[in-house]
């Protein structure tokens, strides 16, 4: 309940920034204990291929977050024209390096590299993005030892942080990517929600979103503040929890939906900071799996 009070601001707005701070403090204290127990650094390695400015920014945010909680991190920058085989071999090296506990390949990769093959190359217990087939299978089968993708895990954590039950609720997800929509559907099913997945081919979207007790949206097609919203107040049920995964511009008409919603997340300062915080949680989980204590 203390957590709930700290993370709610302005009435019904769930602050991802504040909750991320709480999560980071938890991770920091766990990292300290683990370092004492095993007397070694906990280390994340990231791969950054090419010169994509957004990717560079995301990677640097992840390293900064690691530093805040006492996780060691190294970044391996590779040229745009690296072959799939070379990248694969570099991943294999770190798979076999016991001093590296988490491996993350920043996506997207250049077109000549098959992302699925690269994701499959990462040792599942070091796959802190939770994208490896074995980790997908774990959430598919409700195996608690799997590593979940950070964004969906962050969404679940936000709902739980305000003590909202998920069981039996109608959850509607407007996104079907393998980063957000599909894993989130699996996680919400594991929490016993009734789950609907919508996407660009969905007809009568407003009719479906209006049924949602929990509405999670990640359309992400707004290119500026002036673009029209995808989720307007008439599409939201009174008393719904509304979580906006889109970035950098939210899908939701925040100002007009806020009065109707039980809880709502802002953009920025909502799901974004949670994604980074949950990555840190995943590094700790990966470490514990490798040490046989999870």
């Amino acid at each position: 309940m203390t957590e709930q009070l700290e993370i709610i601001k302005d009435g019904n707005v769930i602050s991802g920034r504040r909750l991320a701070k709480i999560v980071k403090a938890e991770v920091k204290s766990e990292v300290e204990k683990l370092k004492e127990q095993f007397n070694e650094p906990i280390r994340l390695a990231t791969f950054l291929v090419g010169e994509n400015p957004a990717s560079k920014l995301y990677v640097s945010m992840k390293h900064k977050a690691c530093a805040e909680v006492g996780i060691d991190s190294i970044n391996i920058e590779l040229p745009e024209d690296i072959t799939e085989k070379e990248l694969y071999d570099r991943i294999m090296e770190l798979n076999n390096d016991p001093s590296v506990h988490g491996i993350l390949v920043q996506l997207p990769l250049p077109d000549h590299i098959n992302e699925h093959r690269i994701i499959r190359a990462i040792k599942p217990e070091k796959d802190v993005d939770g994208f490896h087939p074995f980790n997908v299978y774990a959430i598919y089968t409700k195996d608690p030892r799997g590593i979940p993708p950070a964004t969906p895990a962050g969404v679940i954590r936000m709902i739980k942080a305000v003590n909202e039950p998920i069981e039996g609720k109608r959850a509607v997800i407007v996104n079907r990517s393998i980063i957000v929509g599909k894993p989130l559907a699996l996680l919400l099913l594991n929490e016993n929600a009734t789950v609907t997945i919508c996407h660009s081919r969905t007809r009568n979207l407003p009719e479906i979103t209006r049924q949602a007790d929990i509405l999670i949206t990640g359309i992400g097609r707004r290119k500026s503040k002036e673009d029209p919203y995808y989720i307007t107040a008439d599409m939201v049920k009174e008393g719904a929890i509304v979580i906006d995964v889109a970035s950098p511009y939210g899908d939701v008409d925040f100002k007009n939906v806020k009065p109707k919603a039980k809880y709502i997340t802002p953009v920025p300062g909502g799901v974004g900071p949670m994604t980074v915080a949950m990555l840190l949680t995943n590094v700790v989980k990966a470490y514990k799996i490798q040490k046989g204590i999870e």
Copy 2:
């Protein structure tokens, strides 16, 4: 259109039995061509652990179906008290045996054996049940080279056989198992349906099922013909496609739902025969993947 006419009986009933015959004829002709091309038998191996009578029946049906289409099959019967390690080793032998192209472990396994570990042991390209994490990941990522589970693949085939478009339709699935509900949700998403997954904790099920253009149900809790139906006419939208995956007693009040439905499947003679037929399709697909021609 010829196929459609052949498989519809009694107005709007999709006969799984008739469609299964068509699928088997296709498989048979493909098997003949492949045998000519590669000059060797195509072989399925099944593992049957213990004395479960239902499992024995299912395995024998699968072998009979193989024989019908010219696929070679062997059954390996193992005692109830076999260790996980022993079963694992037997699977490994067949993984490495180039004369075996499909491997199927009949479920359920005895409690002392971890099913997920056994499923993971099967080489993905020989996993004709489509349960391996790599095959789950394939339908998750819409990779056409994956092997889909037979029952959901059969459901999709039945809908397509009557030339019903799936794109944009509201599909409601009442089942969230990894054999039926979850893979079916992924396959229907790949066909651009808007998908809702319901289960035992779903509230107001009738309200949700009434929205379905395509209703697929697999509750399967009726123990006799006298037990009340789970899906009654008031729960079905006029003009819906209704597919009943439950067995041996269907969920659906067939007699009263039939007049409302655009199409409906019977139990028995609906999804059941399709499941066996799609397994044969999977054996051929597995064979072609192993030969590098798919």
